[in-house]
């Protein structure tokens, strides 16, 4: 068969997309419940979200939220840590707890047939944690070691130091794991008090992606998970200092083989109207492989294995960040190229770029709903940012309707004079060429405090 290879094939037919329908209702005791029915497998993926994250850590006791969450399953209702772990593993149930800046997630992935037994264990963990002194000592020791381990990772150091600068003196300034010195000060009584205060019904939202229908699931939850202790203490809102002009911060790390670079500043919240314009702008600028930043710094200059940018959102703050790691010797040149790309944005985007970005976002949309885990993560974002339940159903139209002018208007949200530059690297090879940075604007970061 002779074929014409010179033109790329067109799509065959129109794609049919069945979007997940999100049910949202309040369960007993007024707990919001987000539910998506998915029948591919006989499983239930459940998540409890407590709106109590590391931003609620007291000053001088960072890491308290994390400690509390980690201790939940270290002995509960008379079952030992080992009995709980073995219990889940025998059932083949996946169980995990994680802590973010805004929330604690308690997640369960269970076969339908083992769901009741899994929920029984989960209920004990949530409602009757033992918080023994012994477990407290063990977990504290683990956390301090874990932080030591993480602090050897230049990317972890850079991310934390950067956000510490953006959000200084607020609940978002420290990493969810906390700082070692602070953790030494935390007592088991602090943990118990935190649990009593914040892991309460009024801070709880439930979500499930499930092959069991919502009514039956609700009954089981009522039986095993509730009563979650009654309480009303919401975590205090954070307050941010006014943002200053951008600074240049260099953190020296011995023997660095590359420089970790973070460039950015604070931006608006997730719920703001220009959200879709910002997604399109970032797709063009640094949000995917064929972005301006990656084509320049990787595919043209070969400075890096990859560079990425994004608008990031906490519940009460947002920030724009460019991140990459580059060869030490070209650190200055890489930063200069990034700044060139930022400056170039002022001359706008092309029709072709906008067409590409829209096509990229619209056509990949169906692939975002393949697995239970993907859906759980989408629902989590929906809950964290109070998005409407028709968010998925309107997403494509929202992307389609953004105009070039609207994208160009959002360019102004990235302000070159406010951009902070933070580098973790070797000062002997990476810093020298930056001597034109004004003294008043420059500081050396301290590895100890990051």
């Amino acid at each position: 068969m002779k074929i014409n290879r010179s033109t790329k094939p067109a799509p065959q037919g129109k794609l049919e997309i069945n979007l997940p329908a999100v049910e949202k209702f309040n369960t007993d005791g007024d707990v919001p419940f987000y539910f998506v029915r998915k029948n591919d497998l006989p499983i239930v993926n459940l998540r409890l979200i407590f709106r109590a994250g590391s931003k609620a850590d007291p000053v001088g006791k960072t890491g308290l939220t994390y400690m509390t969450s980690m201790l939940l399953d270290e002995g509960a209702a008379g079952l030992s840590t080992f009995e709980i772990d073995a219990g889940f593993e025998n059932l083949g149930t996946g169980f995990s707890i994680s802590t973010t800046q805004d929330s604690i997630y308690i997640s369960l992935l269970s076969l339908n047939e083992n769901l009741e037994q899994s929920l029984d264990l989960l209920g004990k963990i949530v409602n009757s944690p033992d918080f023994t002194e012994e477990s407290f000592g063990i977990e504290k020791h683990k956390l301090v070691n874990k932080i030591k381990r993480k602090n050897d990772d230049p990317a972890y150091i850079a991310g934390n130091a950067f956000e510490n600068h953006l959000f200084k003196d607020s609940g978002y300034a420290h990493p969810a794991l906390g700082y070692s010195d602070d953790i030494e000060r935390i007592t088991n009584d602090d943990v118990k008090a935190y649990y009593k205060k914040y892991l309460v019904r009024e801070n709880l939202t439930l979500l499930a992606v499930s092959s069991i229908d919502s009514g039956d699931l609700e009954k089981l939850l009522k039986q095993y998970i509730f009563p979650v202790q009654i309480g009303k203490t919401a975590v205090e809102s954070i307050s941010l200092n006014p943002e200053e002009d951008g600074r240049f911060i260099f953190v020296h790390k011995d023997n660095s083989a590359q420089s970790e670079i973070r460039i950015g500043h604070r931006t608006g919240l997730r719920g703001e109207e220009n959200y879709y314009s910002k997604i399109l702008l970032n797709t063009i600028f640094g949000g995917q492989f064929s972005s301006r930043l990656n084509l320049n710094l990787r595919e043209d200059k070969g400075y890096t294995y990859g560079i990425h940018s994004g608008f990031n959102y906490y519940r009460e703050a947002g920030f724009f960040e460019i991140s990459t790691s580059v060869q030490s010797e070209v650190t200055h040149d890489a930063v200069a190229e990034i700044m060139k790309e930022v400056t170039k944005l002022a001359s706008g985007i092309t029709d072709e770029e906008l067409k590409f970005a829209k096509s990229y976002l619209i056509r990949r949309f169906p692939a975002l709903f393949e697995t239970y885990g993907q859906l759980v993560n989408h629902l989590t974002a929906m809950i964290n940012h109070d998005l409407p339940s028709e968010y998925f159903a309107t997403y494509l139209d929202n992307i389609r309707s953004v105009t070039k002018k609207e994208v160009e208007n959002s360019i102004g949200l990235i302000n070159p004079s406010r951009l902070n530059t933070l580098i973790v690297g070797n000062k002997d090879t990476a810093l020298e060429k930056f001597k034109n940075v004004e003294n008043s604007n420059f500081s050396m970061g301290n590895l100890k405090n990051v």
């Binding site: 794609l15 499983i43 995917q288």
Partner: protein, 443 residues
Amino acid sequence: MKRLITYAFFSLILFSTVYFAANEIEFTEYTLDNGLHVILHEDNSTPIVAVSIMYHVGSKNEDPERTGFAHFFEHLMFEGSANIPRGEYFKIVQKNGGTLNANTSFDRTYYYQVLPSNQLELGLWLESERLLQLNIDSIGVETQRSVVKEERKQRLDNQPYGSILEEIFTRAYKEHPYRWTPIGSAQYIDMATLDEFMDFYDMYYVPENATLSIAGDIDVDEAKELVEKYFGTIPSGKREIVRPEIVEPPMQAEIRDTVYDNIQLPAVLMTYHIPAQGTEDYYAINMLTTLLSDGQSSRMYKSLVDEKQLALQAASFPFALEDPGLFIAFGLVNVGVDPLELEKGMEAEIEKVKNELIPEKEFQKLRNQIEADFISGNQTVAGIAESLSNYHVYFGDAELINTEIEKYMSVTREDIKRVANKYLQHDKRVVLHYLAKSQEPKK
């Protein structure tokens, strides 16, 4: 290594697997006249399709003076073809809503795209173009040299413990090409010439050395026609494909060494030689590693992390390879603990398996876990496409996607004890201690 780091997530994906074990993955497979093997799996639950090609060439096919070549070549495969200009390959896929990537192992190189299902033809055109008529120019080569060097730094040199695999494999193998790892050496990447790339392409990137595996929302008959259209006329290779035949001689004595890295917490690694993947003993060893370290109630985690608090992490895993591979036990030493003490603790757990039969109840938990682990890749069409290719390329039997579990289920408690004694021997192992650079003796 990914498994060590994403431990918490690992257990999360277990479940769907039990179901899949009971639900067969149906597929069609056949070989085109030019030697290309084709595997098709239809699953209409999401309107996407994974189009993948596995080339049976990895770092073990490399010249020792050109380590890193297969991986470097993988980067060049995105450079374009006679009909795809340089820089367009990614753009075309992304503009059409696809995601794409590739990776290189010791034994094979794997390329995949996940596209909206009405773009199957596009995916086939793209993959066939670079198999038929890849375009490599010196600009592309020069840029990718720098990119690959930065990839090496990002993944290894600037990553705490990033050099572990390299340091292990270079000591565990003296003859076999597993003595270097796929990322290879920056020095050789600079030395390779355009002619060498074309020669490598001629030898290994030929239909008879490739498996095209497609999974997702397709119509099998239509897919067959499209495959024929784009791949049917690609000529076979003209040369015999060279594969290494070196057999690694058994170790005669323990190798013990210290590596100094940019770390605060020391690490202990104990490595033993094991048989190739797919052999009977391999399955028993795989179950042994699950017993030792899969989950927080596993033996090493419970004893070394929770009870004795010697380690922040403790794990073991079989490095499954086409030729005989390695069993690696790994522990991250807590502050104030002597690495030797953790080593003794790890060894005690290994000795226990050698001396005592696993209790029935624990063995049952293990079987449940293995059953779940076995098909954990099968929840996405991309995972299914890759598994089907793996089973075909390594064992010539894609049906193993449904039946390999039986090999695990036939392993007995006695088998596990036996393989522990047979392969985990003190005098045939590599023990590495990773220590902080500040502890390095001054020269």
